[in-house]
Symmetry: C2
DNA sequence: CGAGTCATTGAAAAGATTCAATATGAGTGG
DNA sequence: CCACTCATATTGAATCTTTTCAATGACTCG
């Protein structure tokens, strides 16, 4: 009834990847878990893709390198439990982004070869990956720049959607990058929101106090108040 | 050996979807083709996802609506032959974006139900979609805002990568949206590039004259040290 | 030809970045 | 526990960039 590595098996039977791999039916999951410390660099843009990672817990920051020298360019997205890293290896040889652990993370990884065999062999596998990619794509669409609103507007919009997850893990610098602004600008934006009574913040947390007020800041788009007739 | 609708079948035997569907082996492709005129609105953000489209030819503009009223928000990506629209329907009920045909397009579409059955039944199907999504994800990462460089820098970077495809189909307004700037700003950016001899442009086309010069503009990041000639 | 849309230009204003100076908090070693 | 250090966050002021608004030029389609 119990396996020797019971804890791990039990975890995998709850993991979507494990389920798709058929761990419950004694199949082996191709992804093997490993912990990494906060701050570890998982890969750098331009490196050949050797492994694909599945985030089991924690948060990983994905950044796009602007020039090839820098390890860290502008933050692009935060990947949390349930999403994959390095899947671009299925369609191109090298990494598009750099990835760094924001918190301590548990990552399950598989080599690209192993993954390929698994996808060919297991019916549910591709479907699982497909849905994971679609889901993270849906969550990752950011707030590009001024065209999406001023700094306070974008900040407010982001907080409305991410306030719960946000507080501890995402530092100011990272959040600023995600929102396409400088840390200084984010500071000022937060102060503006706080002065309206929409949020309360210290330097390590942000708390939404009044969603309505936040909403009213976020919503008053660049285009004042008109409708898009035609 | 010949079907009655031979022309269509022959086309589908070259189409990746058709191949995955096994058209060559007399299977039916779940996606049925249809032409749409330039300018047609395919879906609007917030609408329930009913169909999934595959772009067989032409270009489709995907925009993100800022507020729910507007049909057209800020342009997000241009989808060309080989990519899908509406796949978010697999993981959520409603459309995230609005889509409008930029040129005359041939779209093959399938209802979400049909697609679901196809994915369950056909081995290669999910894998195909997975790779298509990864591919377009790789191509669609834009240039969010000022943090990725000034307007001329982003414009130069985009031209370096997209000059060939760009010329005819993408209007100024659309390109400006993709680059996260106003059309006026794009105009000025293009003029700046032209004044350096990097490009030549009229109001309906942009031609890259000197990639090296373009590169030197794009590359000198915000933190750049060197000034340009002139 | 004329109406309407799209692209360009100019000038003023709004907003963001930069640089420099503090402030805060975490971590370290005495 | 405390001083000390270091990295991160905030603030201020000057500068630079982008947007806005208004006007004009260019092209398309009836």
């Amino acid at each position: 009834m119990e396996h020797s590595d019971d804890r791990e098996v039990r975890a995998c039977t709850r993991c979507p990847v494990g389920i798709a791999a058929g761990v419950a039916e004694r199949e082996r999951c191709p992804f093997v878990p490993r912990k990494r410390a906060a701050g570890s660099v998982l890969h750098v843009a331009g490196d050949p893709v050797e492994r694909v990672w599945f985030v089991k817990s924690g948060a990983v920051l994905v950044s796009r390198s602007i020039d090839e020298e820098r390890v860290e360019g502008t933050p692009w997205a935060v990947r949390r439990a349930g999403s994959f890293l390095g899947l671009e290896g299925l369609v191109r040889p090298d990494h598009l982004d750099s990835a760094r652990a924001l918190t301590e993370v548990t990552l399950c990884s598989a080599s690209l070869d192993t993954l390929g065999r698994w996808l060919d062999g297991r019916r549910a596998a591709s479907r699982l990956l497909l849905e994971a990619v679609l889901r993270s794509g849906a969550r990752e669409r950011p707030f590009r720049g001024n065209i999406d609103g001023t700094a306070p507007q974008r900040t407010a919009a982001w907080l409305l959607e991410n306030a719960p997850r946000a507080s501890g893990q995402v530092t100011r610098r990272v959040l600023a990058g995600l929102l396409g602004m400088r840390p200084e600008t984010l500071s000022r934006a937060l102060r503006a929101l706080a002065s309206r009574g929409a949020i309360r913040h210290t330097r390590r947390m942000v708390e939404v106090v009044d969603r309505t007020r936040l909403w009213s800041v976020a919503r008053r788009g660049r285009s004042g108040g008109e409708r898009g007739a035609d």
